[in-house]
Amino acid sequence: MAGFDKVVASYEEAMAGLEDNMTVIAGGFGLCGIAENLIAEIKRKGTKGLTVVSNNCGVDNFGLGILLPERQIKKIVASYVGENAEFERQMMAGELEVELTPQGTLAEKMRAGGAGIPAFFTATGYGTPVAEGKEEREFDGRMYIMEESIKGDFAIVKAWKADRYGNLVFRKTARNFNPMAATAGKVTVVEVEEIVEPGELSPDDIHTPGIYVDRLIQGSFEKRIEQRTVRSSEQ
């Protein structure tokens, strides 16, 4: 690598340094905008004891769900889970720790983690099981709870396009948690559909500046659809 060129040659290189018991922050919403090849590389490496921070945990044989059969995930922090049978089995058997976190709080925990803010107050979850053990405070006559931010040893991100400097552009709703995840990793690894030369993307159009990105790789993607809903073209 020279200068600001973030491109790595292989998926092995992309995930080098990921060790057992680390925390991985993952972008994606359902199966949309997930770093599917980076997840596959974690499976191949066989890294275990991971704490994964992600809105969801994939399905049985795709996305983060592929890390479940070999028990590579010790704990997951997510807002909505249980779209897969192995997850359910491990959760019910107490083999997998699940920390349910409201979706907006999860996004803000990542954002704050990447922005150097250790904690924040939110009304979300006040008076609910989410508030247990958390500091409560009143502002302007309303009650809020304190939520701590999250940082990861690694962040795995999927973007649409990048230049070699790691400036990222996302496509449609595949953006979701990816920009926040990108800011919150000590090592942020991004896979994209296309890498272009610096200057080919307009500075005005960059969603995530390259400063957050450590490693970049171009992959090919299955982009599996979780709920395929269509209307007939006559409608």
């Binding site: 919403f29 359902g30 199966l31 949309c32 905008g33 809105n55 997510a78 807002s79 909505y80 889970v81 249980g82 359910e88 959760m91 019910m92 699940v98 349910l100 409201p102 979706q103 907006g104 709080t105 999860l106 996004a107 803000e108 990542m110 954002r111 939110t122 009304a123 979300t124 979850g125 006040y126 008076g127 609910t128 099981p129 989410v130 649409w160 996302f170 496509r171 449609k172 709703t173 595949a174 953006r175 979701n176 948690f177 990816n178 920009p179 926040m180 969603h207 982009k223 599996r224 659809i225 979780e226 709920q227 395929r228 809903t229 269509v230 209307r231 007939s232 073209s233 409608q235």
Partner: protein, 218 residues
Amino acid sequence: MALSREQIAMRVAQELQDGYYVNLGIGIPTLVANYVPDGMEVMLQSENGLLGMGQFPTEDELDADMINAGKQTVTAITGASIFDSAESFAMIRGGHVDLTVLGAFEVDVNGNIASYMIPGKLIKGMGGAMDLVAGADNIIVTMTHASKHGDSKLLPACTLPLTGKGCIKKVLTDLAFIEIKDSKFHLLERAPGVYVEEIVKLTAGELVVPEHVPEMSF
């Protein structure tokens, strides 16, 4: 007659106003989109990062990168915008969404809502529901008035773990339109052909019934 799912959605749609930004939950709330009055413009917010959600795509339009909060493939309307999850919840938590419609298991006289977890059963998580109920001022809860076994879902106090505390002011059930204030339910309207006595019987929390209870009209 109790309202059908579609009629519940139709009645909720009467609460829409031109220029509203609206978040619709999964289930009956989603149906509200089908009954936006003619000549009225509303924009649907999907919390995965889309403002201006359109209909399902045709086979030709199908795009894996374009989904809604229910993970269904969708399209965007003209004038839509797309953003990240933190931005999406800034809109929600910051009170910028004009109307939120969502389902529930239970609601109580203090405006508490339980909608995400039944202990002992599979726990899937709250998704964005806790943020939605905490952030929105104008929320309509849609649900059946009672369970299939006749147990009221409008309670003196919720029995299930809460999604939000003191945040619900309006509930539309298959039997009635109810407002919550001063720690009581207030009967605003009844479904066509439904007797007040039936609503009273199926409302476990304290219910204030005015002398005249208008019938809903569609």
